[in-house]
Protein backbone atom coordinates (compact mmCIF):
# COMPACT_ATOMS: atom_id res chain seq x y z
CA UNK A 1 0.00 0.00 0.00
CA UNK A 2 1.36 3.41 -1.01
CA UNK A 3 0.83 6.14 1.60
CA UNK A 4 1.33 9.71 0.36
CA UNK A 5 -1.19 11.78 2.33
CA UNK A 6 -1.89 11.19 6.01
CA UNK A 7 -4.70 12.80 8.00
CA UNK A 8 -4.19 13.47 11.72
CA UNK A 9 -7.35 14.12 13.75
CA UNK A 10 -7.17 15.41 17.33
CA UNK A 11 -8.61 18.45 19.10
CA UNK A 12 -5.25 18.99 20.82
CA UNK A 13 -2.62 20.79 18.76
CA UNK A 14 0.05 19.19 20.92
CA UNK A 15 -1.31 15.69 20.28
CA UNK A 16 -1.39 16.37 16.52
CA UNK A 17 2.22 17.53 16.66
CA UNK A 18 3.31 14.45 18.63
CA UNK A 19 1.60 12.17 16.10
CA UNK A 20 3.24 14.03 13.19
CA UNK A 21 6.68 13.83 14.80
CA UNK A 22 6.26 10.11 15.46
CA UNK A 23 5.17 9.52 11.85
CA UNK A 24 8.16 11.48 10.53
CA UNK A 25 10.62 9.53 12.70
CA UNK A 26 8.86 6.30 11.69
CA UNK A 27 9.71 6.94 8.04
CA UNK A 28 6.97 9.26 6.75
CA UNK A 29 9.10 12.42 6.64
CA UNK A 30 8.39 13.27 2.99
CA UNK A 31 4.63 12.71 3.13
CA UNK A 32 1.83 15.26 3.11
CA UNK A 33 -0.02 15.78 6.38
CA UNK A 34 -3.59 17.07 6.65
CA UNK A 35 -4.76 18.05 10.14
CA UNK A 36 -8.32 18.09 11.46
CA UNK A 37 -9.57 19.21 14.88
CA UNK A 38 -12.55 16.82 15.22
CA UNK A 39 -14.50 14.17 13.32
CA UNK A 40 -16.66 16.67 11.44
CA UNK A 41 -13.65 18.68 10.29
CA UNK A 42 -12.02 15.41 9.20
CA UNK A 43 -15.05 14.31 7.17
CA UNK A 44 -15.23 17.70 5.44
CA UNK A 45 -11.57 17.39 4.44
CA UNK A 46 -11.85 13.69 3.49
CA UNK A 47 -14.58 14.62 1.01
CA UNK A 48 -12.37 17.25 -0.62
CA UNK A 49 -8.97 15.58 -0.76
CA UNK A 50 -7.57 12.09 -1.39
CA UNK A 51 -6.29 10.72 1.93
CA UNK A 52 -4.39 7.42 2.18
CA UNK A 53 -4.37 6.94 5.96
CA UNK A 54 -6.28 8.43 8.92
CA UNK A 55 -4.93 8.61 12.47
CA UNK A 56 -7.60 9.76 14.88
CA UNK A 57 -8.21 10.34 18.57
CA UNK A 58 -11.51 9.15 20.11
CA UNK A 59 -12.41 11.85 22.65
CA UNK A 60 -13.10 15.07 20.75
CA UNK A 61 -15.79 17.74 20.88
CA UNK A 62 -18.30 18.21 18.02
CA UNK A 63 -17.77 14.71 16.55
CA UNK A 64 -15.89 11.92 18.34
CA UNK A 65 -13.50 9.47 16.70
CA UNK A 66 -16.04 6.65 17.02
CA UNK A 67 -18.52 8.54 14.86
CA UNK A 68 -15.77 9.46 12.39
CA UNK A 69 -14.85 5.77 12.07
CA UNK A 70 -18.51 4.85 11.50
CA UNK A 71 -18.90 7.54 8.84
CA UNK A 72 -15.75 6.46 7.01
CA UNK A 73 -16.69 2.78 7.03
CA UNK A 74 -20.24 3.31 5.71
CA UNK A 75 -19.10 5.60 2.89
CA UNK A 76 -18.51 3.83 -0.43
CA UNK A 77 -15.88 6.46 -1.30
CA UNK A 78 -14.00 6.40 2.02
CA UNK A 79 -14.46 2.89 3.42
CA UNK A 80 -11.14 1.55 2.10
CA UNK A 81 -9.06 4.21 3.89
CA UNK A 82 -7.29 2.54 6.83
CA UNK A 83 -8.07 4.16 10.18
CA UNK A 84 -5.68 3.93 13.12
CA UNK A 85 -7.13 5.00 16.48
CA UNK A 86 -4.70 6.78 18.82
CA UNK A 87 -6.30 7.32 22.19
CA UNK A 88 -6.14 7.27 25.97
CA UNK A 89 -9.63 5.82 26.08
CA UNK A 90 -9.00 2.20 25.12
CA UNK A 91 -8.29 -1.16 26.68
CA UNK A 92 -8.70 -4.71 25.34
CA UNK A 93 -12.49 -4.53 25.31
CA UNK A 94 -12.56 -1.16 23.48
CA UNK A 95 -9.86 -2.27 21.03
CA UNK A 96 -11.90 -5.34 20.05
CA UNK A 97 -14.99 -3.18 19.55
CA UNK A 98 -13.14 -0.63 17.39
CA UNK A 99 -11.55 -3.34 15.23
CA UNK A 100 -14.98 -4.92 14.80
CA UNK A 101 -16.16 -1.55 13.45
CA UNK A 102 -13.32 -1.48 10.95
CA UNK A 103 -10.37 0.24 12.65
CA UNK A 104 -7.08 -1.12 11.34
CA UNK A 105 -5.30 -0.73 14.69
CA UNK A 106 -5.66 0.89 18.09
CA UNK A 107 -2.65 2.50 19.76
CA UNK A 108 -2.75 3.75 23.34
CA UNK A 109 -1.23 7.11 24.29
CA UNK A 110 1.54 7.97 24.86
CA UNK A 111 2.55 6.88 21.38
CA UNK A 112 6.09 6.33 20.16
CA UNK A 113 7.74 6.24 16.72
CA UNK A 114 8.41 2.52 17.24
CA UNK A 115 4.70 1.78 17.78
CA UNK A 116 3.73 3.85 14.73
CA UNK A 117 6.42 2.14 12.63
CA UNK A 118 5.26 -1.32 13.69
CA UNK A 119 1.61 -0.54 12.94
CA UNK A 120 2.29 1.15 9.60
CA UNK A 121 4.62 -1.67 8.56
CA UNK A 122 1.79 -4.12 9.13
CA UNK A 123 -0.45 -1.85 7.08
CA UNK A 124 2.06 -1.82 4.22
CA UNK A 125 2.38 -5.59 4.25
CA UNK A 126 5.42 -6.26 6.41
CA UNK A 127 8.50 -4.67 7.96
CA UNK A 128 10.02 -1.81 5.95
Amino acid sequence: MNIETIMIVDDSGMARLIMKQCLEIAGFRDKKFVEAINGKDALDKLNKEKIDLVLTDLNMPVMEGNALLDNIKISPELKNIPVIIITSNSNCAREAELKEKGAFAVINKPISPALIHKTCSALQGGPK
Partner: protein
Protein backbone atom coordinates in the same frame (compact mmCIF):
# COMPACT_ATOMS: atom_id res chain seq x y z
CA UNK B 1 -7.30 -3.08 44.92
CA UNK B 2 -6.72 -0.68 47.84
CA UNK B 3 -5.76 2.98 48.14
CA UNK B 4 -2.06 2.23 47.98
CA UNK B 5 -2.51 0.27 44.74
CA UNK B 6 -4.40 3.21 43.20
CA UNK B 7 -1.71 5.62 44.40
CA UNK B 8 1.11 3.52 42.95
CA UNK B 9 -0.64 3.17 39.59
CA UNK B 10 -1.47 6.89 39.40
CA UNK B 11 2.08 7.78 40.38
CA UNK B 12 3.56 5.44 37.78
CA UNK B 13 1.27 6.84 35.07
CA UNK B 14 2.37 10.45 35.62
CA UNK B 15 6.08 9.63 35.99
CA UNK B 16 6.08 7.53 32.80
CA UNK B 17 4.11 10.07 30.79
CA UNK B 18 6.22 13.09 31.76
CA UNK B 19 9.46 11.20 31.16
CA UNK B 20 8.32 9.74 27.81
CA UNK B 21 6.77 12.92 26.42
CA UNK B 22 8.92 15.66 27.91
CA UNK B 23 12.11 14.02 29.20
CA UNK B 24 11.47 15.57 32.63
CA UNK B 25 12.25 13.53 35.73
CA UNK B 26 9.77 13.80 38.58
CA UNK B 27 10.60 12.99 42.19
CA UNK B 28 7.69 11.86 44.34
CA UNK B 29 7.16 13.91 47.50
CA UNK B 30 4.75 13.71 50.41
CA UNK B 31 1.18 14.29 49.30
CA UNK B 32 -1.18 16.43 51.34
CA UNK B 33 -4.89 16.54 50.45
CA UNK B 34 -5.71 19.75 48.65
CA UNK B 35 -2.07 20.83 48.31
CA UNK B 36 -2.58 21.46 44.60
CA UNK B 37 -5.79 23.43 45.08
CA UNK B 38 -6.11 27.13 44.62
CA UNK B 39 -5.96 27.52 48.39
CA UNK B 40 -3.00 25.17 48.82
CA UNK B 41 0.63 25.07 47.79
CA UNK B 42 -0.45 25.18 44.15
CA UNK B 43 -1.93 28.62 44.65
CA UNK B 44 -1.30 31.61 42.51
CA UNK B 45 -0.80 32.50 38.90
CA UNK B 46 2.16 30.16 38.58
CA UNK B 47 -0.08 27.10 38.67
CA UNK B 48 -2.74 25.67 36.37
CA UNK B 49 -5.44 23.16 37.30
CA UNK B 50 -7.22 20.71 34.99
CA UNK B 51 -9.97 18.18 35.74
CA UNK B 52 -11.18 15.18 33.75
CA UNK B 53 -14.19 13.01 34.61
CA UNK B 54 -13.91 9.24 34.44
CA UNK B 55 -16.34 6.32 34.68
CA UNK B 56 -15.20 3.10 36.31
CA UNK B 57 -17.58 0.30 35.22
CA UNK B 58 -16.40 -2.32 37.70
CA UNK B 59 -17.74 -0.17 40.54
CA UNK B 60 -20.39 1.57 38.43
CA UNK B 61 -19.06 4.85 39.75
CA UNK B 62 -18.00 8.16 38.37
CA UNK B 63 -14.81 9.86 39.46
CA UNK B 64 -12.51 12.73 38.67
CA UNK B 65 -8.80 13.07 38.09
CA UNK B 66 -7.40 16.50 38.88
CA UNK B 67 -3.93 17.72 37.98
CA UNK B 68 -2.32 20.91 39.27
CA UNK B 69 1.02 21.75 37.74
CA UNK B 70 3.40 24.65 37.94
CA UNK B 71 3.47 26.56 34.67
CA UNK B 72 7.25 26.10 34.67
CA UNK B 73 6.80 22.33 34.23
CA UNK B 74 4.13 22.83 31.59
CA UNK B 75 6.26 25.33 29.66
CA UNK B 76 9.30 23.04 29.79
CA UNK B 77 7.12 20.14 28.58
CA UNK B 78 5.77 22.24 25.70
CA UNK B 79 9.28 23.43 24.74
CA UNK B 80 10.58 19.85 24.71
CA UNK B 81 7.68 18.54 22.62
CA UNK B 82 7.66 21.47 20.18
CA UNK B 83 11.49 21.42 20.07
CA UNK B 84 11.72 25.10 21.10
CA UNK B 85 14.74 26.87 22.56
CA UNK B 86 14.97 26.70 26.39
CA UNK B 87 14.08 30.39 26.72
CA UNK B 88 11.52 30.56 23.89
CA UNK B 89 8.16 32.08 24.90
CA UNK B 90 5.29 29.63 25.35
CA UNK B 91 1.78 30.96 24.77
CA UNK B 92 -1.10 30.50 27.19
CA UNK B 93 -2.85 28.30 24.62
CA UNK B 94 0.17 26.01 24.45
CA UNK B 95 0.32 25.77 28.26
CA UNK B 96 -3.41 24.92 28.39
CA UNK B 97 -3.02 22.36 25.61
CA UNK B 98 -0.07 20.81 27.43
CA UNK B 99 -1.87 20.22 30.74
CA UNK B 100 -4.93 18.87 28.92
CA UNK B 101 -2.89 16.39 26.89
CA UNK B 102 -0.84 15.32 29.90
CA UNK B 103 -3.96 14.74 32.00
CA UNK B 104 -5.68 12.87 29.17
CA UNK B 105 -2.69 10.57 28.65
CA UNK B 106 -2.12 9.94 32.37
CA UNK B 107 -5.83 9.29 32.96
CA UNK B 108 -5.90 6.75 30.14
CA UNK B 109 -2.92 4.86 31.53
CA UNK B 110 -4.38 4.89 35.03
CA UNK B 111 -7.88 3.81 34.00
CA UNK B 112 -6.48 1.08 31.75
CA UNK B 113 -4.56 -0.28 34.74
CA UNK B 114 -7.52 -0.34 37.13
CA UNK B 115 -10.25 -1.52 34.73
CA UNK B 116 -10.75 -5.24 34.01
CA UNK B 117 -9.72 -6.05 30.43
CA UNK B 118 -13.22 -7.09 29.38
CA UNK B 119 -14.89 -3.89 30.65
CA UNK B 120 -15.08 -0.40 29.14
CA UNK B 121 -13.97 2.71 30.99
CA UNK B 122 -14.87 6.21 29.87
CA UNK B 123 -12.89 9.45 29.89
CA UNK B 124 -14.45 12.88 29.67
CA UNK B 125 -12.88 15.94 28.08
CA UNK B 126 -10.36 17.90 30.20
CA UNK B 127 -11.66 21.10 31.78
CA UNK B 128 -9.31 23.83 32.98
CA UNK B 129 -10.55 25.67 36.05
CA UNK B 130 -10.24 25.96 39.80
CA UNK B 131 -11.13 22.89 41.85
CA UNK B 132 -11.01 21.98 45.53
CA UNK B 133 -10.12 18.35 46.27
CA UNK B 134 -11.40 18.69 49.82
CA UNK B 135 -14.87 19.40 48.47
CA UNK B 136 -14.84 16.78 45.74
CA UNK B 137 -13.94 13.38 47.08
CA UNK B 138 -13.87 11.55 50.35
CA UNK B 139 -12.38 8.41 48.78
CA UNK B 140 -9.41 10.04 47.12
CA UNK B 141 -5.83 9.26 46.23
CA UNK B 142 -3.31 12.10 46.19
CA UNK B 143 0.18 12.18 44.66
CA UNK B 144 2.73 15.02 44.74
CA UNK B 145 5.92 15.47 42.73
CA UNK B 146 8.77 17.90 42.29
CA UNK B 147 11.33 18.42 39.56
CA UNK B 148 14.99 18.90 40.40
CA UNK B 149 14.31 22.67 40.07
CA UNK B 150 11.66 22.46 42.80
CA UNK B 151 8.70 22.96 40.44
CA UNK B 152 5.66 21.09 41.72
CA UNK B 153 2.97 18.87 40.21
CA UNK B 154 -0.02 17.38 42.04
CA UNK B 155 -2.45 14.75 40.82
CA UNK B 156 -5.48 13.30 42.60
CA UNK B 157 -8.11 10.72 41.80
CA UNK B 158 -11.44 10.73 43.64
CA UNK B 159 -14.66 8.73 43.49
CA UNK B 160 -17.66 11.01 43.54
Amino acid sequence: MNGNDYKNLLSQAIITTIEDLAFIQLIESEAVRGAGDAAGAGAGEDYLQDMLSVYLPVKSRYGVIIMSASKAILKETARNIFALDPDAPVSEDMVNDTIAELLNTVSGQFMRAITPKDEFYELGLPVIGSFEMNEIGKEAVDCAFETENGDKLFISYAFL
